[in-house]
Symmetry: C2
Subunit: 242 residues, 2 copies
Amino acid sequence: MSLVTDAADKPTLYKRIRADIEKRILTGEWPPGHRIPFEHELVARYGCSRMTVNKALSELAQADLIERRRRAGSFVRRPQHMSAVLKIADIRAEITALGRAYGYELIGRKLRAATAADRDRLGVKKAGKVVAITCRHSADNVPFAVEDRLIDLSSVPDAATADFSREPPGSWLLHHVPWTEAEHTISAIVADDHTADALAIAVGAPCLVIDRYTWRSARTITAVRLLYPGDSHRLVARFKGG
Amino acid sequence: MSLVTDAADKPTLYKRIRADIEKRILTGEWPPGHRIPFEHELVARYGCSRMTVNKALSELAQADLIERRRRAGSFVRRPQHMSAVLKIADIRAEITALGRAYGYELIGRKLRAATAADRDRLGVKKAGKVVAITCRHSADNVPFAVEDRLIDLSSVPDAATADFSREPPGSWLLHHVPWTEAEHTISAIVADDHTADALAIAVGAPCLVIDRYTWRSARTITAVRLLYPGDSHRLVARFKGG
DNA sequence: TACGATTATATGTCTAGACATATAAGTCAA
DNA sequence: TTGACTTATATGTCTAGACATATAATCGTA
């Protein structure tokens, strides 16, 4: 079997080279640790210039599929840690993607000077104003998740006057504060009286909890806790790479 | 302010160009939708050849930070959906990373012809042999997670003779079957008698559940269910991008 | 044998061009 | 006004070189 596919040059050359190598790695023909042909060998094999194979190999290296070492060559990477790309979509998008009717209801909204608990939750030192929002998302009129959010107004002053009775704060923030970073913590709890009531489930029923803390270049933006009925909701993540 | 940093050329030129642009995007100086200077403008600004700025821009495009459109130019991408990279490490690695002593205990191991339930769980049609493994991971001698796993022997025949009394099946598989794909489902349950006993928690306590289904180029490898005490375990994911 | 200096080599980066191609924008006719 | 045609242009890909640099391998020496 030759490295060169005899298919017509439908995609570009460097993409064909990249795909050829990627296939060999993914099928296990070239196992972890295997040395990939040197650039000059690939140049000879594909009859192209070195920049072209270099581009293919560079992209494979950027995708962590191979490791390149000077003087030694390029090697199939040994899979290290499983990493799953967990897409945490806008809840509205998530529900409509399931083909269900999205419903939103603002339960409470308070503008206040940050309490000690607020500051702790947002991870900020200085006093300032915050908006605290409680709301509920539903799918086909069945409670889907309850949201308890705190927004730091010193970072997002516009949030003080935003109308959260129609638009969920998550969507609003997504459109007003781009390129944030966040940290998610996922855990499980059992529903207390208050939660059970909000989600219309039994007290003691399992709930999935997502705590998300969002910032933007060292400035705290928001902290949110999402509670899902544990037996009905699923977080699904596909991942690739051993 | 000039695009060109006056810092000495410590990193390479294309990396400086990439970093310059990335900084402007991440700080919001160039908001989503903003058009990045044309390649020929960057060529003039940095005094280099087009291939060099092209490499910088190509990498930014590969990282989904910008979008490149022929004839139109390059634009800062509008953040679409939040995606979190959830690193699901080997449990042993996870525990030792926390500075705690890792403990492993094989509870049960059965080699059998696949039952209907097994086939359903693995998503395979044909009959075949499987290994069913139950084991427990502990941190500082406290139960950390219980694992209930099924391995398809038609895909991984070596698993029939592997010694899982010392090495956890997850680690073993990671070293014997690289480059897999998987799907995770995360949910919450409350502990039943059996689970409570295995995790040394109270019946009715919350548990975090991770179901992972792993395959390799259309061949089923393994299905595993991991149960964590919901109040003690956290899945943490950092992510970037609005 | 062990260690330090030298050399060979694969990758890393870069240039100054070239042609291809998709497409935004402008032009012109129905 | 609308639709079809043309043109200008930014990106996409590629070449045939070049020098830089880290380092594996070799060689020489203590």
